[in-house]
């Protein structure tokens, strides 16, 4: 029981990071990015490709900055070439566009790296390492992932509330026209928000590489996880996304222990459906939003 909660919370921290990325994009631009999971897959593959350049057996966490930079660039490119043109043009446009992007990204990854599972050859000490306290064991890569994700979430919160760019982002999210009239360059805010969203997905991918073997379609499961956590937390709400991610982690770890590993995805989606049906404005959201 304790073990289930520990596992759930640890992985939930990473889910929270993914959810923060998607929530950021939704909060500022009012679009839901269906390709978020595939950005995560891209982050995993960037890690896989760059890891070969590092000396053997080193920690993948050194790649944080290069992978982040690569993801930022990818986000900027995708935003300026495609997303920019569908903002504010109705739901079905961006749904179709991001689904298309997700499909494109998946298959481009497969074109480059092939369809099979890849393994980032981290040392066994990192992959299987664990801290044992009483009956419970805390897996080290999960703990590192949790702590780094938590740091990032705190950082985002600070960024949004304390920096000029963060304030500009919140202003744009509140009311684009007024923000523009106050001299905020909303296009720039959009690029930054989208690119940061992709960076978070990519870094989540990096943090997950010691635990998951990347394969081209791995993004799909994380897309639903990200959306579930986002909806659970109430949209555009960073703290909500954090809690949502933790809850999804708990649901996953409990359902794969008590039901079946094969049903854990289904359980997450059932939770998502229940939330959508019963509390469409999220667990902590205001009632004002029409879903």
């Amino acid at each position: 029981m304790v073990q289930i909660i520990i596992n759930g919370l640890l992985i939930g921290g990473v889910y929270a990071l993914i959810a923060v990325g998607i929530t950021m994009i939704h909060g500022v631009m009012k679009i839901v990015n269906f390709a978020q999971g595939d950005f995560l897959a891209a982050g995993m593959y960037f890690t896989y490709a760059m890891y070969k350049l590092l000396p053997e057996g080193s920690m993948p966490y050194w790649l944080l900055i290069p992978v982040g930079a690569a993801m930022y660039l990818l986000g900027c490119i995708i935003y300026t070439t495609t997303i920019r043109k569908v903002i504010g043009k109705g739901d079905s446009n961006y749904i179709l566009l991001t689904i298309g992007l997700s499909y494109l990204l998946q298959n481009v990854i497969q074109l480059i790296f092939g369809p099979d599972f890849k393994s980032v050859p981290v040392s066994d000490g990192l992959r299987y390492g664990a801290i044992i306290i009483g009956e419970a064991s805390i897996s080290i890569p999960r703990l590192i992932a949790f702590i780094s994700a938590a740091i990032f979430v705190v950082f985002v919160n600070w960024f949004l509330s304390q920096t000029d760019l963060g304030r500009a982002m919140r202003a744009t999210s509140e009311n684009k026209v007024v923000a523009e009239s106050l001299g905020i360059r909303t296009q720039q805010v959009y690029v930054t928000a989208f690119a940061l969203g992709t960076v978070f997905a990519g870094i989540a991918g990096l943090l997950l590489t010691p635990m998951f073997l990347p394969f081209p379609k791995i993004g799909a499961q994380f897309s639903t996880i990200a959306m579930s956590a986002m909806v659970l937390g109430g949209l555009g709400n960073i703290k909500g996304a954090l809690v949502g991610g933790l809850i999804i982690g708990l649901v996953e770890s409990a359902s794969s222990t008590y039901l079946s590993v094969n049903l854990s995805q289904a359980a997450i989606n059932v939770v998502l459906m229940l939330v959508l049906a019963l509390r469409p404005y999220g667990l902590f959201g205001m009632k004002g939003r029409v879903a």
Binding site: S92, G100, S102, Y103, L105, L111, P115, N269, L272
Partner: protein, 338 residues
């Protein structure tokens, strides 16, 4: 009669070509590709009802497709070779029940939340299919044992040609269904809702009821197509039939051709299915044969960015230009006199 013929010239030419195609083409492969086109056009039509006219981007279509396919194949292989014509009715009944079950919570949601919910439903459905292994064959699926002889009742033919005609007829039926919906109250209601749901509701349209009706019709078409499709391919497995990819393929057919046009999905299927076949044939050695799928993704992106109304809208633009030119020509002599 001639007037009707003249007005729908292209439609008639298309149908005639399809009818005589197996006789003029010696290439069995082309016949097979065209048959696939018909199946996907039929499913695209089903998607178009809810996704095109109603603008409710649904990714749950693979559920109903799989329901029809699984119901028929299970009843045939395990329960004494029940004819697909009978089992398809049961499949349709299941599809209707599921459509209500899925639609009731989903249609109270709007826009993107509806899409998220349908993706969630597809995932749940696929995982359940894989989980209940004894019943559905798990992730390996179910295949027919070797069947012999020709029988329309059992939908088995030694040649592809009867199936070709069945697929063609079914596609044309779905086109007629969509045409009928478009010209009737349901079509008007759907378009009103997709223009402005609040305004439509204030005029007394019960939007979730209308959407549910359209969803049910769409699920019936998908379920029957599933039955036909599985008897053609000979096996059912969750990772193709009930996958997210299948839902996307069905959607692409309509998106590419033109959402909200009767012939849109047919045009979309005529382009997208051969495109995939071609790239599978020629780009096979290139990156494990997924170049075609990557092309699919790129195609959606380009379509949304540059031609959000689909390929059929190009035709409409051309028609408009011709009309304008005609009108100008009529004006000119008039102007010359003055």
């Amino acid at each position: 009669m001639i007037k009707v013929l003249k007005k729908n010239l292209i439609t008639f030419i298309f149908i005639t070509i399809c009818l005589i195609f197996p006789f003029i083409s010696a290439n069995q492969y082309l016949v097979r590709v065209l048959m696939e086109v018909f199946f996907f056009a039929a499913m695209g039509n089903a998607w178009n009802i809810i996704g095109g006219y109603g603008k409710q981007t649904s990714w749950a279509s693979s559920i109903f497709f799989a329901v029809g396919a699984y119901t028929s194949i299970i009843l045939y292989t395990r329960h004494g070779e029940i004819s697909p014509w009978i089992s398809s009715l049961l499949g349709i009944a299941f599809a209707i029940v599921l459509a209500i079950f899925i639609g009731w919570p989903c249609f109270r949601l709007r826009g993107v939340f509806f899409s998220i919910a349908t993706i969630a439903c597809t995932t749940i459905f696929r995982q359940l299919l894989i989980y209940f292994e004894d019943f559905t064959g798990g992730s390996l699926g179910i295949a027919f044992k070797i069947r012999k002889g020709n029988s329309l009742w059992k939908l088995h033919f030694t040649s592809e040609i009867p199936f070709y005609y069945i697929a063609l007829i079914w596609m044309l039926i779905t086109v007629v269904i969509v045409m009928y919906i478009e010209r009737n109250r349901l079509g008007y209601y759907l378009r009103a809702i997709c223009e402005d749901q609040d305004a439509a509701e204030s005029l007394g349209i019960e939007s979730s009821k209308v959407k549910l009706k359209a969803f049910i019709i769409s699920s019936i078409i998908l379920s029957f197509t599933g039955t036909l499709y599985v008897f053609k391919t000979g096996f059912a497995d969750p990772n193709t039939l009930a996958s997210h990819d299948m839902a996307i393929r069905i959607g692409i057919v309509a998106i590419l051709g033109g959402m909200g046009y009767v012939w849109g999905p047919v045009v979309g299927a005529l382009i997208s299915v051969p495109l995939l076949e071609l790239s599978n044939a020629y780009l096979q050695d290139f990156g494990g044969g997924v170049a075609g799928w990557a092309l699919y993704g790129l195609l959606i992106v380009l379509m949304v960015l540059f031609r959000p109304n689909g390929i059929i809208s190009i035709w409409n633009d051309i028609k408009e230009i011709i009309w304008k030119r005609k009108a100008r020509r009529k004006e000119k002599p008039h102007g010359a006199k003055a």
